[in-house]
Amino acid sequence: MVEENKELINSKLTLEEEIEYKSEMKLQLISFVMMIILTIIAFVAVASDFISPLFKALFVLVMAGIQFVFQLYVFMHLGQKNHEFPTIAIWTGFVVALLCIVSLAALIW
C-alpha cells in the first residue's frame, strides 16, 4: 500500500493501469482514424459519378451506422462494464428514433 501511494503522489499509474491506459489510447486513436476514413469514403462515394444513386444512399447510411457505433462504443465507452442502463437508454432511443423517422418521412402524403 505504501509503495502504491508513493507512486500515486507522483501522479504515476500502476503498471496495470499503465498498460490499460496505453491500449485504451491506441484504441481511441485507431477508431478516430477509422472514422476519418469512413467519412472520406462516404463523401468520395457521393461525389463520384460511377455509382447508382440508390447504392450511394445505402452506402452512406451504412457508413453513418458504423460511425455511430464507433462513437458510442469507443469514444463514449458504451461497451465497458456498468454501462447496461446507458446501453438500454441509447438503443431504446434509437428504436423510437427509427419509428419517428420512418413514420414522419414515409407515412405522410
Binding site: 431504446t92 432511443g93 423510437v96 419509428l99 419517428c100 413514420s103 414522419l104 407515412l107 405522410i108 402524403w109
Partner: protein, 621 residues
C-alpha cells in the same frame, strides 16, 4: 465525499414559512406541492367540465357561446391531462417511491424542484390565457391548421408555450425517477423485490423520457409556425399537417400509458394490503407493465385511422393495438386472484381500487372495439370515443389517484382522511361517473359528434345528454365532499398512528410524520414486501443495514423557482412580440444555470446525534 468534508457546512440552515416551500429540494415537500398544484388544476378542469355539461343538458341551449365552448373543451382536456392527472401522479411518486425503495432522497433533488416549478409556471401561463384574450380553442390535440391558421384567439400561443414549459418539467421528473430507482435502492432491494408502484414509476418515467422529446419538437414547430413564419404546417409553402398528427400521437399514445400505469401501480399496492395477501403473479405484473409500455409506442397511428393511412398501415396498427389487451388482461386477473381468498377489508382506499377494476375494464373493452379500423370509421369523433377515454382516464387514472390518496394520505400529510365522508365521496362520485359516461356510448353510436356545442331537438339525444349532465352534478357533489374531507382532516390535530393500514412495503416502516432524512439507518431488504417479511419473522421494524452515522442532505435553493420564472416571463415576450423580454428571460435562465455550475454545492450533514432515536413504534404484526 471525504475530500470535501471540510467545505461542507455541518449546521442545517433553519428556514421557515413560504420561503422554505419555494426553495425546498426535499422530495416529500416537492411531492406535496406537485399534489396540491395538480389538485387545484383538477378542480379547475372539473369546473370547466361541469359548464360543458350544463350547456349540453337540454338541446339548443345558449348558456355559453360556441367559441367559449371550444375553449372550455380544449382547456378541460389539456388541464386534466397535463396539469392535473400527471402532476398528481408525479406528486405521489415523489412522496412514496424514495420511501418504497429505501432511499434517503432522489437522485437529482435540485432538478426535481426545477421540474416542479416549471410545471407550476407552465400551468399558470396556460390558464392565464382565460384573462388575456381567450383560452386555446383547437382541442387538446391542437391539429394544424386549426391550431395555426384558424384559431380564433391568441390562446394557442399560451397552449404552445405553457405546455412546452410544463413538458420540460415532466421530462426532468422522468429522468430523476429513472436514476433514483436504478442507483439508490436500499441494500437487498433488487429489481424483482421492488414494489409494483415503484416499478410502475420506473416504466412510466421511461415512457416520459422517450415520448416527451417528440412533443417538445412538435411544440417548437407549431411555435415557429405561429410566431416566426416558418412553413411546417402551411400547405401553400409545401408544409404537411400530417406531420403534426404523427408527432402529436407518437407522444400522445405513450402519454395515455403515462396516465394509467401509475394507477396500475397504486392498485397493486392497495389491493394486496387490504387483502392481507401478497400480490398474485408479481413477476407477471412486472412483465405486463413493461410490455404495455413497449406496445404503447407501437400503436399511435390508431388515432389516425380515418386520416387515410391506407389498409396496410391501418391493419398493422389495429393488430398491435389489440395485443395491448393481453398484458392488461393479465393485470386485471392478477388483481382478482390477489383478492381471492384474502381477508378483504373495504376502507375507502380499497373501495376505489375495487371500483377501478370493472370501470377500467369497460374502458378497455371499448378500446378494443375502437381498435377495429373499419368500425373506427363509424366511432371516430363521436361521443363513443368520449365515453371510452373517460372510462379509461376517470374510471382508471382518477379512481387510482383517489385510491392512492386515501391510502397514502397518512404517509404524506400525517393524518387519516375521514372514512365516513370518504364513503360518501366514493358513492356519489362512482355513481355520478357511470351516470355521466355510460349513456355517452349510446349517444356516440346514435351519431352525436364530439366537440359540438349543442344538439338539435327530436334526434333522440335528449335523454342521454340529460342523464349525463345529472351524473356530472353528482360527481361535483362527490368532489365537494372530498374537499370538505381534506379541510376537516387537515384542521384536526390528531396525528395518524404508525403503520395505520398494516402495510407491507418500506414506506410504512417509517415513523409518521416522515423525518426529513427518511431513514435514520437504511433498511436491509430480505424479500418482496420487506416490512411484511419482518412482521412474519416477529420483528416490529426493519433490520438496519448500516450503523447510525451522519447523513448527507442537499441544500435548498431558490434557483429552480427563479429559472422557471424566467421562462414564464420570456413566454410573455414571445406572445406579445416584445423580443427583448423574451431574450432577457431566456438569458436569465441560462445565467441561473451558470450560477448553479459555478457555485459549488456540497450539501450539509445531519449529525447522528440529531437523528430521532429509533423507537419501537409497536407495529402490529
Amino acid at each position: 465525499m471525504a475530500t470535501h468534508t471540510e467545505q461542507v457546512s455541518l449546521n442545517r440552515k433553519q428556514r421557515s414559512g413560504i420561503w422554505d416551500w419555494i426553495t425546498t429540494v426535499d422530495h416529500k415537500k416537492v411531492g406535496i406541492l406537485y399534489f396540491l398544484a395538480g389538485f387545484f388544476f383538477f378542480l379547475l378542469a372539473g369546473l370547466e367540465a361541469v359548464i360543458i355539461r350544463v350547456q349540453l343538458i337540454y338541446p339548443e341551449l345558449n348558456i355559453v357561446s360556441a367559441q367559449t365552448f371550444n375553449e372550455l373543451i380544449t382547456m378541460h382536456g389539456t388541464t386534466m391531462i397535463f396539469l392535473a392527472a400527471m402532476p398528481i401522479f408525479l406528486g405521489l411518486m415523489n412522496c412514496i417511491v424514495p420511501l418504497q425503495i429505501g432511499a434517503r432522497d432522489v437522485a437529482f433533488p435540485f432538478m426535481n424542484a426545477l421540474g416542479l416549478w416549471l410545471f407550476i409556471f407552465g400551468g399558470l401561463l396556460l390558464n392565464l390565457s382565460w384573462f388575456l384574450g381567450g383560452a386555446p380553442d383547437a382541442g387538446w390535440t391542437a391539429y394544424a391548421p386549426l391550431s395555426t391558421d384558424y384559431s380564433g384567439t391568441s390562446g394557442m400561443d399560451f397552449y404552445v408555450l405553457g405546455l412546452q414549459i410544463a413538458g420540460f418539467g415532466t421530462l426532468m421528473g422522468g429522468i430523476n425517477f429513472l436514476v433514483t430507482i436504478i442507483n439508490m435502492r436500499a441494500p437487498g432491494m433488487s429489481f424483482m423485490r421492488m414494489p409494483m408502484f415503484s416499478w410502475a414509476t420506473f416504466v412510466t418515467s421511461a415512457l416520459i423520457l422517450f415520448a416527451f422529446p417528440p412533443l417538445t419538437i412538435g411544440f417548437f414547430l407549431l411555435m415557429f409556425d405561429r410566431f416566426f413564419g416558418s412553413n411546417f404546417f402551411v400547405a401553400d409553402a409545401g408544409g404537411n399537417v400530417i406531420i403534426w398528427e404523427h408527432i402529436f400521437w407518437i407522444f400522445g399514445h405513450p402519454e395515455v400509458y403515462i396516465l394509467i400505469l401509475p394507477a396500475f401501480g397504486i392498485l397493486s399496492e392497495v389491493i394486496p394490503t387490504f387483502s392481507r395477501k401478497r400480490l398474485f403473479g408479481y413477476s407477471a405484473m412486472v412483465f405486463a407493465t413493461a410490455l404495455i409500455a413497449f406496445l404503447g409506442f407501437m400503436v399511435w397511428a390508431h388515432h389516425m385511422f380515418t386520416t387515410g393511412l391506407g389498409p396496410v398501415a391501418n391493419s398493422i396498427f389495429a393488430v398491435a393495438t389489440m395485443t395491448i389487451a393481453i398484458p392488461t388482461g393479465v393485470k386485471i386477473f392478477n388483481w382478482l386472484f390477489t383478492m381471492w381468498g384474502g381477508q378483504i377489508r373495504f376502507p375507502t382506499a380499497n373501495l376505489w381500487a375495487v371500483a377501478f377494476i370493472p370501470s377500467f375494464l369497460i374502458g378497455g373493452m371499448t378500446g378494443v372495439m375502437l381498435s377495429v379500423a373499419p368500425a373506427d370509421y363509424h366511432y371516430h369523433d363521436t361521443y363513443f370515443v368520449v365515453a371510452h377515454f373517460h372510462y379509461v382516464i376517470v374510471g382508471g387514472s382518477v379512481f387510482g389517484i383517489f385510491a392512492g390518496m386515501y391510502f397514502w394520505w397518512p404517509r404524506i400529510f400525517g393524518k387519516m382522511l375521514n372514512e365516513t365522508l370518504g364513503k360518501w365521496h366514493f358513492w356519489t362520485f362512482f355513481v355520478g361517473f357511470h351516470l355521466t359516461f355510460f349513456p355517452q356510448h349510446f349517444l356516440g353510436l346514435m351519431g352525436m359528434p364530439r366537440r359540438v356545442f349543442t344538439f338539435l331537438e327530436g334526434q333522440q339525444l335528449e335523454l342521454g345528454n340529460f342523464i349525463s349532465s345529472i351524473g356530472s352534478f353528482l360527481m361535483t357533489i362527490g368532489s365537494i365532499i372530498l374537499i370538505i374531507n381534506i379541510i376537516m382532516t387537515q384542521a384536526k390535530k390528531e396525528v395518524a398512528e404508525y403503520d395505520p393500514w398494516d402495510g407491507r412495503t418500506l414506506d410504512w416502516a417509517i415513523p409518521i410524520p416522515t423525518p426529513v432524512y427518511n431513514f435514520a439507518q437504511l433498511p436491509l431488504v430480505k424479500g418482496l414486501d420487506p416490512l411484511w417479511v419482518e412482521k412474519m419473522n416477529g420483528n416490529n421494524k426493519m433490520t438496519p443495514a448500516e450503523p447510525l452515522d451522519d447523513i448527507h442532505m442537499p441544500n435548498s435553493s431558490i434557483l429552480p423557482f427563479v429559472m422557471s420564472l424566467c421562462f414564464f416571463i420570456a413566454s410573455f415576450g414571445f406572445i406579445y412580440d416584445v423580443l427583448i423580454v423574451a431574450i432577457l428571460g431566456i438569458a436569465g435562465f441560462f445565467f441561473c444555470m451558470l450560477l448553479r455550475s459555478l457555485i459549488d454545492d456540497h450539501g450539509y450533514y445531519i449529525k447522528k446525534e440529531e437523528l430521532a432515536p429509533v423507537v419501537d413504534e409497536g407495529g402490529k404484526a
